[in-house]
């Protein structure tokens, strides 16, 4: 009975949010999330069940929020990197490094948790800055530059942990990934705090404008006096910071630092979250909240597959299919091909005169035909 009421309330709120977002880019991301939730409402028993234990909320949807925190954190950094036209493949490795640094300082060196966390974050920022130097300083392509840290990063993490899996019980560290605040998982607060920070960083300053400008047209940005190097350096460092935080949450979740497995393949989830969130891989316009919702979408997908007894080993397959589907929908050439299949009457070859008169709205495509 209570569930009925809460479900109804949930859908009313969700529906109104959707209605409110009509016409915006993020509408489609939220809509896709809604479809997935709707599927669960009808076909996954217990997915919408909520209960209160010790004053904390529990349930699949809460799990999604909690488990999705890592991807959401990563996607906040990733979305800015992708907006500049780059990509950061090293975030998974940076997560492992952050986990290794914090637990080593905490357990092996017996330092206070606050210090361990701060040190891990500083190291993560340095790792991101390293990527930034390669991309912005040396002008190496982002995929290649971040590949270096992707390869070496886990080695560094293992070096720090000396190949051990370090377990810890420190309450502060454990709270990070398992604690509750206002009846909800603390990780949610963390994500919102980071969203606030990212929002402040890019939208309350001019950095966001510069990021979009550089990602959309690097050459014109240079002519306008934008310091692309500085902008790029900043986003990679920020991505490192986000990855560090995600790494702390990840090791706190399992109360141990496993340099081999923390954040494995999570860079892919983060890229996917950004793309689902409406940001193009070509760079340019970016959507912070979209990336977060994209992260939620992916986690919901994963949780749905779990709930339907799909083994965690197989769950990458549907994810891959979603990646391809979303990218195809963004791909210009797929859309034109699709349009041609859907409306075969508008084929390219037509006799003179049958063409509908077109109003010249723009000169741009015309210019492009002349070099």
């Amino acid at each position: 009975m209570i569930d009925w009421v809460s479900d109804l309330l949930f859908w009313i709120v969700f529906g109104s949010i959707l209605l409110f977002l009509r016409g915006r880019r993020i509408f489609w991301t939220v809509g896709a999330l809604g479809m997935l939730l709707l599927f669960n409402q009808f076909f996954t028993p217990g997915f919408f069940h909520l209960q209160v234990l010790d004053g904390h909320l529990y349930g699949s949807r809460i799990d999604v929020l909690n488990q999705g925190a890592k991807v959401m954190l990563l996607s906040l950094g990733m979305v800015l990197v992708i907006a500049t036209g780059g990509v950061d493949l090293s975030v998974g490795a940076v997560m492992a490094i952050a986990a290794a640094v914090s637990s080593r300082l905490l357990v092996t060196e017996h330092l206070p948790a606050g210090f361990a966390i701060a040190a891990a974050l500083v190291v993560s920022i340095l790792a991101g800055a390293w990527n930034g130097v390669l991309v912005a300083g040396f002008g190496i392509q982002p995929i290649v530059a971040t590949l270096v840290l992707m390869v070496a990063g886990r080695g560094v993490a293992q070096l720090i942990t000396e190949g051990q899996i370090i377990n810890f019980l420190d309450p502060t560290m454990v709270y990070l990934g398992n604690g509750h605040l206002f009846a909800l998982p603390f990780t949610l607060t963390l994500v919102l705090l980071m969203l606030g920070l990212a929002f402040f960083l890019v939208r309350r300053t001019a950095v966001g404008l510069f990021i979009e400008s550089v990602g959309d047209n690097a050459e014109a940005s240079r002519y306008s006096g934008i310091n692309a190097r500085q902008v790029k350096f900043l986003v990679y460092a920020f991505s490192g910071f986000c990855a560090g935080l995600a790494g702390l949450v990840a090791c706190s979740n399992i109360k141990s630092a496993d340099a081999n497995n923390i954040g494995l393949y999570l860079e892919l989830d983060a890229i996917l979250a950004v793309v689902v969130g409406g940001t193009s891989l070509q760079g340019g316009r970016f959507y912070l909240v979209g990336a977060l919702v994209g992260g939620l979408f992916i986690q919901t997908l994963t949780t749905t597959l779990y709930a339907r007894n799909v083994s965690s080993d197989i769950s990458p397959v549907p994810k891959a299919l979603v990646i391809i589907a979303v990218c195809l929908l963004q791909s210009e050439s797929f859309r034109t091909r699709l349009a041609r299949v859907v409306r075969p009457s508008e084929r390219v070859l037509q006799p003179i005169g049958s063409r509908p008169p077109q109003k010249p709205i723009t000169m741009t495509s015309h210019d492009s035909t002349e070099s």
Binding site: Y223, S224, P360, S365, T369
Partner: protein
């Protein structure tokens, strides 16, 4: 036209929002060099790309030796005997000369490439052009001119009937052009049909038999070169009768005289290897200095050096008497220099950002990342310029990509006017925009000048330079050849300076 090699009838091609070719006819006989002329945006390149199958056509018919053809790719066109050599040498710089000539049609034995045969074939192909090179060296080891010839050798290596040369001389010097023409004459004598696209009027008169003029996607006419006076050709290309050009010149008489102040910018011996030979240039406040010359004469290169896009390797620049050195546009902007680039789309607009964001960009850059203009300030600024410059846009939140060329240009002007520059460099500000916007921009330039701005005005349209400038610096072959002062400036004088081989760096 029974003996036509190539015959095109009613070729039409449109892109979203624009008709690039509108029922164009064209004919070419073997043993003939046929020039295709037109201003930027006339449709020359589109015609070639449709002909060679890069773009599909919307309508029209093409016949090669009487047979209807419709190639769907450059490969198919090559198979039919139509080969193209593009301005930006489309070869593979990392591979050897021999391989570049034979790529895609290497002699093989049971699928195994016969490398010695490739070298021989490449030597033979080069020999047809009287060239002898080390064919095993990497292509990038040779100069652009030689690469150009290698590209032609490649085109001729298959049994080409028709050779298309798309602005092949843009990056060649005088001797290299001479060399190329010698080869072309030889090929013409051999019966090859050649379509020659260029901006250089002299070269057209030097080599071509026929001239077809295109304007705005339409064929204006086909003329025998020897019967077409130059002034007629120019008037066909720009679409203005000769007397109109003269009438425009008189308006300039009302311009105020130069203010005899100290120069705001003094460049001495400014040069960069491969782009500009040492150049002196003064610009005073309240003065429009025109930079005239043919395409590739060093106009854009000068602008890029002054704005710090390229680094000068010689010479000095002084702003208001103090020596300055720019290694990036950012540095130049700090001194109050602004530039609207020649290629609006590549270096100007940020296509997917809004009009507002495009307008505030330079001002915001100068303020730095942390002192962000508030949304209200941005809106006010954008609205002010949308109104002042008459930018036609549904709202300030419209993405710039969707504006017309003229309005995009105005957005760029607004971006720079927002930082209140002291020196404004305008590189082809009126290219590819409609007449209304053109005259608005011209009026704007004059009003800026009256407000005491220094303006460097670059345009390939001489009449525009004449109308706008108090002083004209004439460039040829990447060097300054003349400087015309108030009273001496006319289209004729500029043309003479460009043409006169005896002029070298007179004036200041």
């Amino acid at each position: 036209m029974a003996n036509s090699l190539l015959e095109i009838v009613g070729l039409t091609k449109s892109f979203p929002g624009v008709t690039a070719l509108d029922g164009v006819d064209f004919a070419l006989r073997g043993g003939e060099i046929h020039a295709l002329m037109g201003e930027n945006g006339a449709g020359k390149s589109t015609l070639i790309k449709v002909l060679t199958g890069v773009f599909p056509r919307d309508a029209g018919e093409t016949r090669l030796e009487g047979k209807i053809i419709a190639p769907r790719s450059p490969r198919e066109a090559e198979g039919l005997g139509i080969s193209t050599v593009y301005q930006e040498v489309n070869l593979i710089p990392h591979l050897s000369v021999a391989e570049n000539i034979c790529l895609g049609r290497q002699p093989t034995w049971l699928g195994v490439i016969r490398w010695p045969a490739i070298a021989n074939r490449a030597r033979a192909a080069l020999a047809r052009l009287d060239l002898s090179l080390d064919v095993n060296r990497q292509l990038s080891a040779y100069s652009i001119a030689v690469q150009q010839l290698i590209a032609i050798a490649r085109a001729l290596d298959i049994s080409a009937k028709l050779l298309i040369l798309d602005e092949p001389t843009s990056s060649l010097d005088r001797n290299e052009v001479e060399e190329l023409f010698k080869k072309l004459r030889k090929l013409r004598a051999g019966g090859l049909g050649i379509i020659f696209i260029t901006h250089f009027i002299d070269q057209v008169y030097e080599i071509s038999d026929l001239i077809t003029v295109l304007r705005n996607g339409c064929r204006i006419g086909c003329f025998a070169t020897k019967d077409l006076p130059r002034i007629k050709l120019v008037s066909h290309m720009i679409g203005k009768a000769v007397h109109q050009v003269e009438a425009l010149e008189q308006k300039r008489a009302s311009a105020a005289s130069i203010r005899s102040e100290a120069p705001m910018l003094e460049a001495r011996g400014l040069a960069r290897k491969g782009s500009l030979r040492p150049l002196d240039l003064d610009i005073r406040p309240g003065e429009v200095v025109g930079l005239a010359g043919l395409l590739g004469s060093g106009r854009t290169e000068t602008a890029k050096l002054l704005f710090g896009v390229d680094r000068a390797d010689q010479g000095t620049v002084r702003m208001n008497g103090r020596e300055v050195r720019f290694d990036s546009p950012r540095a130049a902007i700090r001194y109050g220099i602004a530039l609207t680039p020649e290629d609006r789309k590549v270096a100007g607009i940020i296509p997917n950002l809004t009009v507002r964001e495009n307008i505030v960009l330079a001002l915001q850059t100068r303020r730095g990342s942390w002192r962000r203009l508030s949304v209200a300030e941005q809106a006010k600024l954008a609205d002010r310029f949308i109104q002042a410059l008459g930018i036609k846009t549904p709202s300030r939140e419209q993405t710039v990509r969707n504006l017309s060329g003229g309005n995009q240009q105005k957005v760029l002007l607004a971006r720079w006017l927002a930082i209140e520059p002291k020196l404004f460099i305008l590189d082809e500000p009126t290219r590819g925009i409609d007449v209304g916007a053109k005259s608005e921009i011209e009026r704007l330039i004059q009003s800026l000048r009256q407000d005491g701005l220094a303006v460097l005005f670059i345009s390939s349209e001489l009449e525009e330079v004449v109308r706008q400038s108090q002083r004209v610096v004439v460039l040829r072959d990447r060097r300054k050849v003349d400087e015309l002062r108030e009273g001496e400036i006319s289209e004729g004088a500029i043309m003479q300076s460009i043409a006169n081989p005896n002029l070298e760096r007179t004036g200041a």
